[in-house]
């Protein structure tokens, strides 16, 4: 187990290195000039050239790469071209809203979807099952921004229950934090509820046909205990996998929700950085996302050991 953990952690190093090189090269191949963007609309070519030199972009690409690599190895992700701030500081400002949104979304999704999926499997073919599958199709089909605007219109504008936009840091109080996050989280969770509920239903349905379920029922166990203790527990591996993938996708995929609800998170930062060709910020954020993906995958793999004692590394 510990050897596995050590191997996996070591394996993250080449993964991150490959990502770093690819991102660096792809950005240099992308059309668009950060200097021209920074200079503003009325700047002329001379001024742009001076800014480009100031940013070090007039140097050969291999030289730029070596400088960046050297800085990165010493823990310095560089300074944003656009904001003139350390990339680590920028990420530090933006990580809390995104993590908060992702955590609340996944909590809502798991707490809703898993019971719904289990119930649908239990009542396979019945009205509840069909209704849940209908909801799942809808959840996958309705674009996030459409759902967001509908919820804002009803919950915020008509009922006046929750704010339309913005984010409050958790340090400002749990109440304002939750008040600003609940609507975005519900919006974002719908697709994950649909996804997790479907996987849960399929997985539990498979286990419900197993001999040990029949045995458990024959022993006279209560149906709830059969469903939770035996069916769900044995169906947990695929569910954990999909939840893990969901978390990883959430971290990098919340940009639409962040835009509609004006949440200053990592998604918004990434889009702004891409639009501004802010190379150091893009590189920093993508490295962070890669690290998240690797770690989440590792955690999912480790969770298998707990969820299924037969799995050993």
């Amino acid at each position: 187990m510990y050897a596995f953990l050590a191997r996996r952690l070591l394996a993250t190093i080449p993964v991150l290195a490959i990502v770093a090189v690819l991102v660096f090269l792809m950005l240099r191949l992308t059309p668009g000039d950060p200097a021209a963007i920074l200079a503003g609309d009325a700047a002329n070519t001379e001024q742009i050239a001076q800014i480009r030199a100031g940013l070090g972009l007039d140097r050969p690409v291999p030289v730029q790469f070596m400088i960046w690599l050297g800085n990165m190895l010493s823990g310095d992700l560089g300074e944003s071209f656009y904001y003139k701030m350390k990339v680590t500081a920028l990420i530090g400002q933006r990580i809390e809203p995104t993590l908060s949104l992702a955590a609340l979304t996944i909590a809502i999704a798991v707490l809703t979807a898993v019971p719904l999926g289990v119930l649908a499997a239990w009542r396979f073919g019945g009205w509840f099952d069909r209704a849940l599958m209908g909801f799942a199709v809808m959840g996958f089909s309705v674009p996030v921004f459409v759902l967001a605007y509908i919820l804002i219109w009803i919950v915020s504008l008509k009922l006046g229950w929750l704010p339309v936009q913005g984010y409050r840091r958790i340090a400002d109080g749990f109440g304002p934090w939750l008040q600003h996050l609940i609507l975005p989280s519900i919006t974002l969770s719908v697709i994950y509820i649909a996804l997790i509920a479907r996987v849960t239903r399929a997985s539990v349905l498979e286990t419900l046909g197993e001999d040990y379920i029949r045995t458990a029922r024959a022993k006279g166990l209560r149906e709830a205990r059969v469903l939770v203790r035996h069916a769900l527990a044995n169906a947990a591996v695929p569910i954990a996998t999909i939840i893990g993938i969901g978390i990883a996708l959430l971290i990098g995929g919340v940009v639409v929700t962040e835009s509609v609800y004006a949440i200053p998170g990592l998604g918004r930062l990434t889009v702004d950085a891409v639009l501004a060709r802010d190379f150091p910020t893009i590189q920093g954020v993508i490295l962070l996302f890669s690290l998240f993906y690797v770690l989440i995958n590792l955690l999912v793999d480790l969770s298998y050991v707990i969820l299924d004692p037969r799995i050993r590394y």
Binding site: N44, K84, W161, Q165, R268
Partner: protein
Amino acid sequence: MNIARKFAVIAAVTASAAAISGLSFNSAAQDDAKVLRIVPHSNLAILDPIWTTAYMSRNHGYMIYDTPFGTDEKNQIKPQMVDTWSVSPDNRLWTFKLRPGLEFHDGKPVTGEDVVASIARWGKRDAMGSALMTFVERMDAPAPDTFRIFLREQCGFVLEALGKPSSNALFIMPKRIADTDAFKQIEEYIGSGPYIFKRDEFKPGDKAVYLKNTKYVPRKEAPSGTAGGKRVYVDRVEWNLALRDGQAQVNALQKGEVDIIEALPFDHYETVKKDPSLQIPKYSTVNLQYMARFNHLHKPFDNVKVRRAVLAAFSQEPFLRAQVGVKELYNVCPSMFTCGTPYGSPAGSDIQSKSNMKKAQELLKASGYDGTPVVVMKPTDLAAIQKLPDVAAQLLRQAGFKVDLQAMDWQTLVGRRAKKDPDDKGGWDMFLTAWQGHDIWNPIANAAMDTRGEQSGWFGWAKDDKLVELRNQFMRETDDAKKKRLADAIQTRAFEIGTHVPLGEYSQPMAARKNISGFFITNGNLYWNLKKN
């Protein structure tokens, strides 16, 4: 589930929602009546308004810095930090005395030396500033409240340059900051303006905060444009930099979470107009102008006859109708200088204003156009100008051009338009953009009329020695009537050679809640004199 249990569930859900909605806004509750919440037109990234011409940086500059002169709502230059000034009989020595009570946010008085250093830095970056500096022999500050500009020869736009309202406006900084290399960004943001920048609360992409400068001494005159008394009636101004979706902005305004939307998307104009809790205040008499710019370096627009065919083809109405749509917000303007400003005139515009597609086709036929495709760059992510290239492409096709309409994001366009390569090496032939009126309102400020060619000109690199000479004459002329005649001659020449195509003007509406008062004609986005009732 029986009725009682259903009722209990509904009651529980309702109670939870009510409980959440009732949670207190700890941070938002602070003196709401004294906090002005504004959604600016874009993100604020660069805090040095001399280093970039970005409008957001300029607006940030107006919050925290003051200017020696301002431009009032009638486009007249008026003193702002300056109290009195005099000019020598030969028009070569300008002496300015600062008004008393000017103080930087760090408590130090504003001196002539600060102004001289600020002019020197600005003169290296701004187009008008650079032009002015070609006349300047030296500057000095003979007394703490005085600064002088010694000119080599007389110059006709000293005050226009010192009081220019748009990018780059001459913001006065402490000497130690203004001494920063003009090609490096400053790192301290200390001005003497009506607001103090709250650096520790600045989160790029999230919010920028400004506090009332309680020591600021406003002028006695009423506010007007960038001139007049800058009185502040709120304690704090917050720019919401995260709220960028147009629909979300309007939602927030309707809900009262923000007070002002600086640039209301045209699509939402009617919605806001009909909402009794909202207003569309009049804040501008100078419109914005759309423009099509040629690349003069390569075929086909290196041929003046081809450019004139485009001038004939591009009647303004289709562009305005497609892009703005709301008739009361746009106007046809047969001038390269902003209509309604001193040099706005139809001089020389017949080729465009009295032309039609048949004429354009004839001109193109006579031009020897060989079918070279015209690369028109279309920004897909900039709603403010997104539809213009489609109209341009259609009109060009009707005139007989082959068109290669290339979609890209605005930042790619911005990078690509700086390239001088031909089309087959990633170059371009035409892009379309919009200018705030004060950036193109005279022959010096109007970048598209700088025809010095590849070396110093604006993207497109138009070259015409006659126009350069006319601009030089304009710079030296001090008589207003003669300046007007020269401006007409410059515009006539610009239409003759087709530097660019003006595509009409529009007014960018602002939206605010009804409880905000004190709006005045700013011709920009200035946030003093506003009260929140």
